[in-house]
Symmetry: C2
Subunit: 128 residues, 2 copies
Amino acid sequence: MKIGQRYTEVRKKIFTAIEKMDKPVSAQEIYDYIKQNYEEVDLASIYRNLELMNKSDAVNVILFGEGKKRYELKNMKGHHHHLFCEGCGDIKDIEMKEENLIKNVKNKEGFVIKKHNLEFFGLCPNCQ
Amino acid sequence: MKIGQRYTEVRKKIFTAIEKMDKPVSAQEIYDYIKQNYEEVDLASIYRNLELMNKSDAVNVILFGEGKKRYELKNMKGHHHHLFCEGCGDIKDIEMKEENLIKNVKNKEGFVIKKHNLEFFGLCPNCQ
DNA sequence: TTCATTATTGCAAATGATTTGCAATATGTC
DNA sequence: GACATATTGCAAATCATTTGCAATAATGAA
């Protein structure tokens, strides 16, 4: 997995931050984490790296309609989806077979499917 | 389906705009459509109404990672998902049974599922 | 190891979507 | 028609993300 041309300190920190927080995180959360655990890194650099990481398939972009993107490392876990709590924003992973689902979509409309996202929205035990 | 307390001209225009454009549309697209077909409506009013319409279940919010939200009328079509072309932004509806999928998620993690979104990303015939 | 090339970073400013305060206006009610 | 207040327009604010540019750091060559 090649991100850009150089393996920089900033890049290492971003990787570590996402890995340690162990959930889909926003650019701002990565920024905050790094600020508290290492020397500060500019937000713009984080955004630029996240875009690179996304293009090189190192991270997934996850959307919950909060008005911002979340990122998670791709190699850490198998393919999965998420449960997003509308109450507290808590996020849980879910595993699910969906071969049939995906199979049915392929070749429909002549599209070439490159990616799909399935997210569930609801309330976690604490928020019900 | 009750949106706010009054059935205003602005509200009518927004409904008509979304219906006529017949695809998931952004607030800006609704604004542009109305500007061309009726008297202009303030963007802020459109946003305020879209939020109301979402809370009262009149519209679905759809996310394709473009950095903005799209809205579609809920009553127009049955439950469906979308194919979003990363090349040109073209959007197609797809129908799919997913009873099993959803059934499997219910009662998992103690979440109460209120909504789920499944989006596919790829390239349409023109963009391949 | 030092040097040179250029990818990457920090900083500041710009952009785009969305939100908010507030006074003016329009809608439903009596 | 007059009132009470939901809704709108306008302007400014906010938040996430992007961009220009000069300074800095990573990597390959000498």
